[in-house]
């Protein structure tokens, strides 16, 4: 009986092909096998996302409410300081909704990038001891960020309903495109930074600084009309609009901030926003692919560098 099960196993194993261990570094085939590898671990990916979320709020009595406190406080601060005190709100109708739309998109991007950057280092225990497709860690951070974002989105939609500004227009179609943009671009950045941070820990601090600066490079607390007025038609405006995060913020504003269209005649969006977003999405996908190639090149030495 014992021998039988052993022999059965040996026979079954004989049927299987011998597969090279580790990730293939082929330029195009590598991506495909990585995707298959991650797909094979999709259940683990969902568990890791759940772990992130559960562990984060496990011992706090307010739990998941905390993930809403930060953007709401930011909203209040910007609403009063920039909107009322500096008077920006005079030119922007429904300023609260406007700011909150920008903050949620920006929050999604920063969380993807900053937690993605640390994802490999923070999971060093697993990276060093178990073989998993390592892309799974930055992807789990993206999952965690999306969870927080979806909570904020619920609040946002609820707020538009309460304020009677529910965005039931065709412009709502901009929202998925904008989200795809910010997620794909953010993931591309996160994947590259996650791998680089293993080799150079300073990157985590650089990322923080860069994000603080980049916040002001997108129309979150000011509207695009200010930018347009200042640098309309110049090369600078094109650079400003080449930022995928900016395009995502604009797209989400187009979708959710109906007063931007209805109550003002200002140029709150560039005329060819949709086209720009599609181009940006295509470029982001290419960047993500390149980022994955960089990642898989670097990941071979993760276990020894951590």
């Amino acid at each position: 009986m014992i021998r039988a099960s052993a022999q059965e196993r040996a026979l079954r194993i004989e049927q299987e092909p011998l597969i090279p261990v580790g990730q293939s570094t082929g330029f195009i085939t590598g991506t495909w096998s990585s995707i298959q590898d991650v797909w094979a671990h999709r259940e683990l990916l969902t568990l890791l996302v759940k772990r992130e979320i559960r562990a984060r709020y496990k011992d706090s009595s307010l739990g998941v409410v905390w993930s809403l406190v930060k953007p709401l406080v930011q909203l209040l601060v910007y609403y009063f300081a920039i909107g009322q005190v500096l008077g920006v709100a005079r030119n922007i109708p429904s300023f609260a909704i406007f700011v909150f739309v920008g903050l949620t998109v920006w929050g999604l991007f920063t969380e993807i990038v900053s937690s993605g950057t640390m994802s490999i280092v923070n999971n060093s225990g697993l990276v060093k001891k178990v073989y998993l497709p390592r892309e799974i860690f930055p992807l789990a951070s993206v999952g965690g960020a999306l969870f927080n974002f979806s909570l904020q989105l619920v609040i946002l939609v609820a707020a538009t309903v309460v304020l009677g500004k529910f965005p039931l227009t065709t412009d709502l179609a901009y929202a998925p495109l904008a989200l795809a943009n910010v997620i794909v671009f953010g993931t591309a950045v996160a994947v590259v930074l996650a791998a680089s941070t293993v080799y150079l820990r300073d990157i985590q601090h650089l990322v923080e600084v860069a994000l603080t600066v980049a916040f002001w490079a997108s129309p979150i607390v000011y509207s695009f009309s200010f930018v347009h007025r200042a640098i309309a038609g110049t090369f600078l405006e094109q650079i400003y609009l080449a930022n995928p995060v900016t395009l995502s913020v604009l797209g989400m504003q187009k979708a959710f901030w109906i007063d931007g269209t209805a109550q003002t005649s200002q140029t709150n969006w560039p005329p060819d926003l949709a086209l720009r977003m599609w181009i940006s999405l295509a470029i982001s996908i290419v960047l993500l692919w390149l980022g994955q190639r960089v990642f898989s090149r670097l990941q071979g030495n993760f276990a020894q560098e951590l």
Partner: protein
């Protein structure tokens, strides 16, 4: 502990892992931050050190075998295990593998302290490659095997370390691997649990699963493995018979030990009597192993009634035997000069391996003149029938069947 069942023949079995010309170079950076890299830019050669953890390793592991990787600290055995597991990529060469693998390089890797035992079981099982359905099916077995069902819904940060490893090991043995990689993690938990672990390993072996384990315990390796690979400084120095492998490993330790003793300064307070040299050797005649210990003693001052004591230990430090000459009716020489004392231990029935001899000089009152720990060693050749600490001469007869 019963002997692992051997699978019929090594040759007709398929390989499960093939390691081909694998070398691994580690580059040790001494600088990690931007500042350090910038300030040392250009001179960076000095801050980079090469280290070959593995050199041109070739290994073919067939299904159903239990392979032990042994070697000194830093010999590359854990690196080899990680290369097989795909955790580290080799610098050159390839590893090919098939079947389902589970790596137990650290128990509870991936346990999150803030999650409950139940949540961690699911997470860890997924990390080791089980899907939700399989985990559901095995969940009760896992908890039952770990023996901590009362605490399964407690956060694991409140677990004792014993409970933690129990749960982790329990998950690991329930993932149904074809190939199990184990790094120094079998000696966990209390005695009954350890026994359970060993039983599980034996069960794995009988089910034809392949086990590759790294261990420092030659005892464990000898008990579990049917093949031992000895590594030294990244190269393979032995591949095959476990007893022979363990002997080679111990010879290596022995060489280190002798070097260390030579470099130690001799103590000055041994002017009256001291041990000049100790030798031990085994000679085998007619299947009996006789050990002869020769001690050269320098007598610098006439001390009446002195005696010599000798003890025998295993290389792991277990004392097997100790004796002294006080009970024997023999007066040792008191004239000044060097004397040779020869002690014969006839027909010594020890299992194969290396044994250490310690020698001391003293008086029956307890005063010591000189003492040399592990001063010499002798080898006992491989036993024909069995293995263990002692040597027996078993006989097997066929009794006529009773009605």
């Amino acid at each position: 502990m019963s002997h692992p069942p051997r699978v019929a023949s090594m040759h007709d079995l398929p390989s499960i892992v093939r390691v081909q010309d694998v070398s691994k170079r580690f580059i040790l950076h001494k600088d990690k931050s931007v500042k350090e890299r910038l300030t040392t830019f250009g001179r960076s050669r000095r801050h980079v050190q090469d280290f070959w953890a593995l050199r041109e390793m070739n290994l073919d592991i067939v299904t159903g075998s239990t392979v032990g990787l042994v070697g000194h600290n830093g010999s590359g055995k854990s690196t080899l295990l990680k290369v097989i597991g795909g955790i580290i990529q080799p610098t050159t060469g390839t590893v090919v593998r098939r079947g389902r693998m589970a790596a137990l390089l650290e128990l509870g890797a991936g346990f999150h302290p803030d999650l409950t035992g139940r949540e961690n079981v699911y997470l860890n099982a997924a990390i080791l490659g089980l899907n939700k359905f399989e985990t559901d099916r095995n969940f009760d077995d896992i908890v039952e095997f770990s023996g901590i069902s009362d605490f399964i819904d407690t956060q694991v940060k409140f677990y004792s370390s014993g409970m933690y490893v129990r749960l982790a090991f329990s998950v690991a043995v329930h993932v149904d691997p074809d190939l199990l990689l184990v790094d120094e993690v079998l000696a966990v938990g209390d005695e009954p649990f350890q026994r359970k672990c060993m039983d599980k390993i034996a069960e794995f072996q009988s089910e034809g699963r392949t086990i590759v384990l790294v261990s420092h315990s030659s005892d464990q390796v000898g008990r579990l493995c049917d093949r031992v690979v000895v590594l030294h400084a990244g190269s393979m120095v032995h591949d095959g018979d476990p007893a022979e492998g363990i002997r080679i490993l111990r010879d290596g330790y022995e060489a280190d030990r002798v070097n260390k003793i030579r470099s130690l300064p001799t103590v000055a307070s041994v002017e009256r009597l001291n041990i000049a040299a100790v030798e031990a050797e085994t000679n085998t005649d007619d299947g009996h192993n006789n050990v002869v210990v020769k001690v050269a003693v320098n007598v610098s001052e006439s001390v009446p009634g002195w005696g010599v004591g000798i003890s025998i230990e295993t290389t792991l430090g277990m004392r097997l035997y100790a004796m002294d000459s006080f009970g024997m009716d023999i007066a040792l020489p008191t004239t000044i000069g060097q004397h040779m004392i020869e002690l014969t231990l006839p027909d010594i029935r020890l299992g194969s391996g290396k044994y250490l001899v310690s020698v001391g000089l003293g008086l029956p009152t307890g005063e010591n003149f000189d003492r040399k720990d592990s001063a010499a060693s002798f080898d006992i050749p491989t036993d024909d029938y069995g293995m263990g600490l002692i040597r027996l001469k078993p006989t097997l007869t066929l009794a006529s069947p009773t009605r």
